[in-house]
């Protein structure tokens, strides 16, 4: 498999009135062609900001990418000119967002909005672009797609709007689709529809996917590899089955233990992680999970552990082996 994306040492900061917020602190990951990577974490852990930084979608000021590289097919996205990156975004890398209510322009028709990337990136004329838009809308399961091109966003339900957003992202045949919590605003039966749709499209079109979510349930059935983020860092990354069967970071363990499972027959007390996520007003000198960790040793207070490989498909950023309670 060829690698299409390699992010190395990404750091992003925001200037606020209270000081500098260190939202992303050295995030590195790779992605192969056609692979699905899940990025999991709670609100404020930096999962969306990492991906937005890579695509240069962070408003500046207040935000600033201060370090790192994001190599897409060998070229650094962070060093491209505005013109170059505009041809990558939307044409080769597309995004699907969380909120299908606010994403669309309410005064433009769906046909206009879905076909726009084709007119911009592929230089198609309006008629051809509309024809292709109808085809793609049909592909994502919009009934009577041709007639609905003239409809406005408010005439679609939440689930249908999310389908339209996916159609718009896929219309230029991108190599990489970034899905930022695309099902969080949806009901569970609609969520299942969207997940099934993305799985089908992935098989048909073969694009790579980065799926950002806080839901460890949904990513279990979708991703090949999963990266867990906490406090602006990736704390664990592993092949999906390995991560769920053998979580090595105390945070991942807590997170998995705090989820009730529908297929569990006994009632157990949920594992709760005491305390709250850190406020990243300074660059972490210690492990960001330190104050909530039950395994912490002295080393954790003096140095933030880097992500290291335990085996070819499992990396963890922790000084302590949770199975023995001692340092690695």
């Amino acid at each position: 498999m060829t690698e299409i994306l390699s992010v190395q040492g990404l750091e992003t900061q925001f200037r606020t009135r209270e000081g500098i917020v260190h939202a992303v602190n050295g995030v590195s990951f790779n992605l192969d062609e056609g692979e699905t990577l899940g990025i999991v974490g709670e609100s404020g852990c930096g999962k969306s900001v990492s991906v937005m930084s890579m695509l240069r979608l962070i408003p500046s000021p207040p935000g600033q990418v201060v370090a790192g590289k994001a190599l897409y097919q060998g070229k650094d996205l962070l060093k491209m000119t505005d013109d170059e990156i505009r041809h990558v975004r939307g044409a080769q890398i597309s995004m699907v967002f969380q909120d299908p209510m606010t994403f669309f322009n309410p005064v433009l028709t769906i046909g206009k909005q879905v076909s726009e990337p084709l007119e911009i990136h592929n230089g198609m004329n309006k008629k051809m672009a509309y024809e292709r838009a109808a085809k793609v809308l049909e592909m994502v399961g919009i009934p009577k797609a041709k007639e609905r091109l003239e409809d406005y966003p408010h005439q679609f339900s939440g689930g249908m709007r999310q389908r339209v957003m996916i159609a718009m992202a896929l219309i230029t045949n991108p190599q990489l689709l970034i899905a930022d919590e695309p099902t969080t605003a949806l009901d569970v039966t609609i969520q299942a529809q969207i997940v099934e749709l993305v799985q089908r499209l992935r098989e048909e079109l073969g694009m790579a996917i980065i799926w950002i979510t806080h839901d460890l349930g949904i990513i279990a059935g979708l991703a090949k590899r999963v990266a867990v983020m906490y406090g602006g860092c990736i704390v664990e990354e592993a092949e999906v089955k390995e991560l769920y069967a053998n979580p090595m970071h105390p945070y991942t363990r807590g997170l998995l233990g705090s989820l009730p499972r529908m297929d569990e027959s006994d009632h157990r007390r949920l594992v709760s992680i005491d305390g709250m996520p850190p406020i990243l007003m300074e660059k972490p000198k210690s492990c960001p999970f330190l104050s909530r960790c039950t395994y912490a040793v002295d080393h954790c207070k003096t140095e933030n552990p880097a992500l290291k490989s335990l085996s070819p498909n499992h990396k963890v950023a922790c000084w302590v082996d949770p199975n023995t309670g001692r340092e690695f």
């Binding site: 709670e42 349930g217 769920y244 996520p277």
Partner: protein, 327 residues
């Protein structure tokens, strides 16, 4: 089964919201059928989970029980007394025994009141505690929900979402209620904090002998916390059973689809699962489908489903289902 005391009895509860059109001469043009003939009992000391997707009427049911919305018809009996027939002072005094925890810990606390004021307000309104006794009680309640009593003079914005939800719980406990209606109490919280709040609710139930109506859309969490579960769809109860019975032998086609749509945090289990994917969206509650409400999305619907509305009937002891086609 042992004889258990019914604390709350909801009997054929109906709540329609009128839709009025026109600016000056308002005309009644239709109704939102938010809750349409819902009945269930809650036994003292148990947790009844009420699940359903957005817009199914689960929150309206909760609010109508407390008479925050007056029902269109039906009865709500709390310890045998009909709340629907009560007014003014009698209603206020009875309602003291029932409290509510809300979904949004940001919107449900007054930003200009301190934590101490928020928690003491119910006691002032109902004149249950005064002066130093009240202050002691606030400190006790803060400790009970796991907050530092030193926070008494702070304002809600100084707290995180999970801590605010704890303040909301302390306020609900201030009047020693018997029944607490939890309206999506964890939906706005992060995963690791959800477990903290759920564990707290379980501890409080055990220690204070509380009864919960737990309204939520998260089926895994409802399974975790409930003794019995009722599934709502478009204003009606589709199925109602004990927790284990409902999750291991769902009978209604909607419950089956709903359960199969919930992802399990385990890639090995996910690979083996077969999903029932429902077509389409939930219809509008303004013009709900004739007959069975679910028939427009039901994979097994027949002609009878269009013609007659299925009654909620008992198919196994304690297991009720509203479907013509379940034998």
């Amino acid at each position: 089964m042992e004889e258990r005391k019914v604390l709350l009895k909801v009997d054929r509860l109906v709540k329609y919201f009128p839709i009025n059109q026109g600016f000056i001469f308002k005309q009644h043009s239709g109704d939102v059928h938010a809750v349409d003939d819902v009945s269930f009992d809650i036994y003292a000391g148990e947790t009844l989970g009420l699940v359903g997707e957005s817009g199914c009427g689960k929150s309206t049911t909760g609010r109508t029980i407390l008479q925050l919305y007056r029902p269109t018809s039906g009865h709500v009996y709390f310890e045998g007394q009909d709340l629907v027939k009560m007014k003014g002072e009698t209603l206020r005094k009875t309602r003291k025994k029932m409290q509510m925890i809300f979904q949004d810990p940001y919107a449900s606390l007054n930003p200009r009141m301190t934590v101490g004021d928020i928690i003491s307000e119910p006691m002032i309104v109902h004149n249950t505690y005064k002066g130093s006794a009240m202050k002691e009680r606030v400190v006790h309640l803060l400790e009970l929900v796991g907050l530092n009593p030193a926070f008494i003079k702070r304002y809600p914005h100084e707290f995180s979402g999970g801590q605010r939800q704890r303040i909301g719980i302390a306020r609900a406990l201030a009047l020693d209620p018997d029944l607490i209606i939890c309206d999506e109490p964890i939906a706005a919280l992060d995963v690791s904090v959800q477990a903290q709040v759920v564990n707290l609710l379980e501890d409080l139930q055990r220690d204070l002998k509380l009864t919960y109506l737990f309204i939520a859309h998260d089926l895994s969490m409802v399974k975790h916390i409930s003794n019995r579960v009722a599934v709502m769809y478009l204003g009606i109860i589709a199925e109602k059973a004990t927790r284990d019975e409902l999750y291991s032998h769902p009978l209604h086609p909607y419950t089956k689809a709903l359960l199969s749509a919930v992802p399990i945090p385990d890639p090995v289990a996910e690979e083996k699962r077969k999903r029932v994917i429902l077509e389409g969206d939930v219809p509008s509650p303004v013009n709900p489908p004739s007959g069975c409400r679910f028939r427009t999305r039901c994979p097994i619907a027949e002609k009878i489903c269009e013609e007659a509305r299925p009654e909620l009937r008992e198919v196994n002891p304690g297991h009720f289902v509203a479907c013509h086609l379940v034998k």
